[in-house]
């Protein structure tokens, strides 16, 4: 019916996500997505190539002379315990990322299931799930994580870190995804599906979820980002896996050894730069995915 901005007639296919050619066109119009992917790709290459080029066993203490500034032999220098910092970065980055991904995936996975069930069935189930999530969100997360980490007597492994962080990672996704599902479930096609004989779980999986995929992807990236931040936070406090050369543990050692005051700039520069790249990459990725998931665009579909 011709408003000022929408052209009359059938909607051009370019506006419709989900088809490969259209998706590519989208990416070109979505620079944030490209930047984010490139940054993360850089890290992946760094780690990937690094594993072939660098001897990662040198990331353990007493592998190299202590406190060497960057040189051709040790491009990132070494730390006070004799670790080759380049090896530490190559070995540690994937560990940190792994914590983030596992925790993020668990968080969004559990969160989505709870959100879909809660929003689709409403009633008592909804009240209970929403209540728990709301209460959980009011408790300071870091505090809970610290308490949990401290209570674990034996040394912490990377995967245990992931689970600790995941324990709180589902709270926010549950609420935000629930809100999205609530609005979708009123759509005409859900009613038609019901009348066509589809059961509740079928409707959730086949009708609702496909329309939420972009939103879920954006939520996942966000959750991963938060999880990495939380894990680094715990590690810097010394509550992480002491033996592992993760980025956060490196910063812990930096702090412990007062590297800033002592002028061992190479020790803290490397991890901080990598952390920056991780977060910038995830940020741009979120912004890029957000543009795809944005309801303003969804309206043209």
């Amino acid at each position: 019916m011709g408003e000022g901005t929408t052209p009359p007639g059938p909607i051009p296919e370019a506006a419709r996500p989900g088809k490969p050619a259209a998706a590519l066109r989208y990416v070109r119009r979505n620079p944030s997505l490209v930047v984010g992917i490139l940054l993360l790709l850089t890290l992946v290459l760094f780690v990937g190539i690094g594993h072939f080029v660098v001897d990662t066993s040198k990331s353990r203490p007493l592998s190299a002379p202590v406190l060497q500034p960057p040189s051709p032999e040790y491009p990132f220098g070494t730390d006070r315990q004799g670790r080759d910092l380049l090896a530490v970065m190559v070995a540690g980055t994937p560990l940190t990322l792994r914590i983030g991904f596992i925790a993020g995936l668990l968080g969004v996975g559990v969160g989505s299931i709870l959100a879909f069930v809660s929003a689709y069935y409403r009633g008592a189930v909804d009240t209970v799930i929403r209540g728990i999530a709301d209460i959980g969100l009011t408790v300071p997360g870091l505090l809970v994580l610290i308490i949990i980490a401290v209570s674990i007597k034996e040394g912490l492994t990377v995967d245990q870190m992931a689970i600790i962080v995941a324990s709180l990672a589902w709270l926010n996704p549950t609420r935000t995804i629930r809100a999205q599902v609530l609005s979708l479930r009123e759509r005409g096609y859900v009613e038609v599906a019901r009348l066509s004989g589809m059961s509740g779980p079928e409707i959730i999986v086949k009708e609702l979820m496909p329309n939420l995929l972009p939103y879920l992807a954006a939520t996942l990236v966000n959750a991963v980002s938060n999880a990495i931040l939380a894990s680094i936070g715990l590690e810097v406090l010394g509550l992480g896996p002491i033996e592992s050369p993760t980025l956060g543990m490196t910063l812990y050692w930096v702090n412990y050894n007062a590297a800033l005051i002592n002028g061992w700039w190479w020790w803290w520069t490397a991890p901080i730069v990598i952390i920056l790249i991780v977060f910038l990459g995830l940020f741009f990725l979120t912004v890029g995915l957000d543009e795809i998931a944005n309801p303003r665009l969804r309206r043209t579909v």
């Binding site: 019916m1 011709g2 000022g4 901005t5 052209p7 009359p8 007639g9 059938p10 051009p12 370019a14």
Partner: protein, 319 residues
């Protein structure tokens, strides 16, 4: 013979999309006399709303007015600056847009919304004068003075629409463009709103362009009727003639689609589908569905021709 108050010549509006130019309005020309009521009917995608917006230069990107002139009282509004055009809107040409009753500001009382419009156009009045003017306006559209202090959600659909009419006439424009002013309203309320519009128009001595898809409704109100199809004006005639002696085949078929209350089994459809505006067929846009199409129709675009005095149609069968 009344003078022309509005003259549209060769108006062309395209929307530029990644897949090509959507030709929403192509070569539209018509005139509007003083105190005349002109109707523009068409189905969805015919370009009638685009045309209404184009006259007021309210087309936003990716749409663009590619060509054309709109002469208002001897002045081509296409050549005005943005500021001058802003002054022209509402004061000289007013529009009641589609769904306007849903665009009323929900947190402002009606009086404030009318006063806003007045103030925006540099009208300086004391508070008391504004109140009086608002009361007069509301009365002229048949609303009680109490409505001034109400919020939109306290009014019924018909009342909201009449409030929108009041806003539109607040500066006594010479031309009122009403785009589907009654589309969401019940039949009984529809009649009341149209009667209000008629009364207001007579009192102001203004001209009205009524855009709509309901041919019956539009026909009840207007003196002359224009029919649009695929972005073009295909017929303009006095309303009586449109129904008794239609010139364009589309008009004839369109009239046949209207269900009557007189006799059963009288309404039919038009086979086929309207064309994609970015992929129009060559020649006459209607030829694929036209029962009278000849070879010429497939190659040459017809232009408006006077088939009878004051009755125009864009069809090769006229020549």
């Amino acid at each position: 013979m009344k003078p022309d108050v509005l003259r549209v010549r060769g108006l062309q509006v395209y929307y530029h999309t990644p897949l090509g130019a959507v030709k929403a309005a192509e070569d539209i020309s018509f005139s509007l006399k003083a105190e005349e009521r002109l109707g523009l009917v068409g189905e969805s995608g015919s370009g009638k709303s685009t045309l209404a917006l184009a006259i007021l230069r309210m087309i936003k990107p990716p749409g663009r007015i590619e060509a054309g002139e709109v002469w208002l009282d001897g002045q081509n509004v296409m050549t005005l600056s943005e500021e001058e055009m802003r002054q022209v809107r509402l004061a000289r040409i007013a529009m009641i847009p589609q769904g306007s009753m849903n665009s009323l500001n929900p947190v402002m009382r009606i009086q404030a919304q009318i006063a806003d419009a007045l103030r925006d156009h540099g009208v300086r009045m004391t508070k008391r004068q504004v109140e009086e003017r608002v009361r007069d306006l509301l009365q002229s559209v048949g609303l009680k003075p109490e409505v001034a202090t109400m919020f939109p959600h306290e009014l019924s659909g018909g009342m909201k629409q009449r409030a929108c009419i009041a806003i539109a006439i607040s500066l006594r424009p010479k031309v009122i463009i009403a785009d589907e002013p009654t589309s969401a309203l019940d039949v009984v309320v529809q009649k009341q709103v149209m009667e209000t519009l008629a009364r207001v128009q007579r009192a102001l001595g203004a001209s009205v362009i009524l855009v709509g898809h309901d041919m019956g409704l539009v026909a009840q109100f207007v003196d002359r009727l224009g029919v649009m199809y695929a972005g073009k004006l295909v017929e303009v005639s006095p309303v009586r003639d449109v129904f008794t002696k239609p010139l364009h085949p589309y008009t004839t078929l369109l009239i046949a689609t209207l269900p009557s209350l007189e006799q059963k089994g009288t309404f039919a459809g038009i086979p086929g589908l309207p064309p994609l505006l970015r992929d129009l067929p060559p020649g006459c846009a209607f030829h694929p569905r036209c029962p009278y199409a000849v070879d010429r129709c497939r190659t040459e675009v017809p232009h408006l021709m006077e088939g009878r005095p004051d009755s125009w149609a864009a069809c090769h069968l006229l020549s």
